[in-house]
Symmetry: C2
Subunit: 158 residues, 2 copies
């Protein structure tokens, strides 16, 4: 086989591989992205309520609070920004989104709010390890404030 | 005020507080429990696919894999068992569940599968930190096997 053709085939193989990789990365549909980010917020919500029950209830379960805070922090730090792909700024494939259009036009404000959220979530996980219920209660409130700040600006009331 | 009445009021206050705590704990409805556990599995699924993209694609993004593996592990270790409450073994409040009834009658088998899942998820997070793509690929497969083992036995095909 002439060297030129071999090289051309090799180049084709490389670009096919790159294409496969790119395809794998882009395989996420807007409706999937919306579902996944809503799943993340939903699971965070349950874990926030578990911590609330612990700091407001009669019994404080240190290990449950640690588990819940770790889940929140790991999700918050998991790179959820990747789920706000083009096409996911509006309802897609029958899946409703509650994000406001401004979310996509104010990246700096979004980044600031997201950073506050991940920072306070990491701090809650740190405080949870101490088992200090009063400190956890205060930090839980602080983290909840970062949720609310973003909802106020970028979530459609539902 | 007579001492007897004071004591009775104090006892009432204590039981009201215990009741509030118990109420807070039991406030979870079966349909909420189903939604929250599905949210957890959904978010795990996205993160499994992100890791798959990394180990199969042309570029390996170490920090993305660490973030994804950490989220999976923290969710797996978050005490999801608490979401399999009475009433959640069947569809509830318009929310469909895919759990088989056997899940609730074979706690030992479920515990064994759940332990395998959390163990391999923790191991994936550990391996991810090394940045060794081949090791991550192998451990990703191993973790996926624990997902499948439970689906085979306890998930209705959908």
């Amino acid at each position: 086989m002439p060297k030129k053709i071999i090289l051309a085939l090799a180049a084709l193989a490389v670009s096919a591989s790159a294409l496969n990789a790119a395809h794998a990365q882009q395989a996420l549909k807007p409706e999937q992205a919306i579902k996944y980010r809503q799943a993340a917020y939903s699971y965070i919500s349950w874990n926030m309520s578990r911590i609330k029950n612990n700091v407001e209830g009669a019994n404080y379960n240190k290990s449950e609070v640690i588990q819940a805070a770790s889940a929140i922090s790991a999700i918050a730090n998991s790179g959820m920004g990747a789920l706000y792909i083009p096409g996911s700024e509006k309802d897609a494939g029958g899946v409703k989104t509650f994000v406001k259009p401004e979310f996509f036009s104010k990246p700096q404000e979004v980044a600031r709010l997201a950073q506050n959220f991940t920072k306070e979530a990491a701090e809650l996980a740190r405080v949870a390890a101490s088992g200090d219920a009063a400190a956890v209660k205060a930090q839980h409130g602080k983290l909840g404030g970062t949720c609310k700040a973003c909802h106020d600006d970028f979530k459609v009331r539902n």
